[in-house]
Symmetry: none
Subunit: 182 residues, 2 copies
């Protein structure tokens, strides 16, 4: 996977024309797609992929919200807008319900707001770097409305296992089905 290559995440930075990306939100929906691997410098700074930045920069807080994944050695990340939507959804529950509690405790309490420096970089809190076991590179993995940040090798492994599991599953079928192939 040159995608995981050290040198450059991949052509990714260029995959999306700069100008194009910004107007992408015109339709309202902007997705985080693809995987980018960037370096962590000795000050702990990481460039957020330009493509992701254009999505994040347009939101009410121009930065990233991050919190540890419950199930994997990875960091969940999204724009503030997504968290607000989640929160609004949860608020429909009784404020003292288990759902409300679980959400507040497991997401809100552990999440951090990270803003960009003038070059579009962020610094991950140590807790999170450790949770994901990252040393000197970080993989930004698009998941649609959100993305994750992984130690690149760990993600590789996880991805292979997922493929193994899903090889002949319905995922691929679904793509074809809706493709209106027949």
């Amino acid at each position: 996977m040159s995608q995981m290559s050290p040198k450059r995440a991949d052509g990714s930075a260029s995959d999306l024309g700069t100008g194009t990306a910004s107007e992408f939100g015109g339709s309202g929906l902007a997705l985080f797609l693809s995987t980018f691997v960037n370096r962590i410098d000795r000050k702990g700074r990481i460039s957020v992929p330009a493509q992701f930045r254009t999505v994040l920069g347009a939101q009410s807080f121009p930065g990233v919200i991050v919190f540890p994944s419950f199930v994997a050695p990875a960091i969940e990340a999204s724009g503030i807008d997504h968290i607000e939507r989640l929160s609004a959804g949860i608020d429909q529950f009784d404020p003292f319900s288990d759902e409300h509690d679980a959400f507040a405790i497991s997401i809100l309490a552990d999440s951090h707001q990270l803003s960009f420096d003038s070059e579009g970089r962020i610094v991950l809190p140590d807790v999170l770097r450790e949770h994901a076991g990252m040393s000197d590179r970080a993989a930004f993995v698009g998941r649609g409305a959100t993305f994750q940040i992984w130690e690149p090798e760990a993600f590789r492994t996880c991805q292979e296992e997922a493929r193994k599991r899903a090889r002949d599953s319905r995922i691929s079928l679904r793509f074809r089905d809706s493709a209106g192939e027949r």
Copy 2:
């Protein structure tokens, strides 16, 4: 076959008037049809067939979404709209469900947004070029709501085998039928 000729995909462009493609049906539905073979220049650029471009250019992101095919040495491609529909469908699942995970990992993470340059060309990431074993030409193969990108010879081979299978099964069916009738 003439369809696979190097020079020009074939007269296919004329099968369907250029303007016709985009407004196809007026119902909003536009299909990717036919096969076109174009060159890959030394910078890795490939012209997307004009006919496909008119469909893609009308979508919320004017470019192509590509990701490796699970089952073939080919690249799956579509417009952003198709991915958004898929994603929206998946979002109905619990964000931490296996379904969601498998989709995100196997499609979203491996996909790339490619925008057109001013001449309507794209540059495929190395990972994908390698996955499809492409060197200096690319075959764009219409599949309705989506299309695929192949190394032309590989597609030829695959196509012939498919035909052979189809013919064999038909023959065997006919044999069965007539055998039964007799």
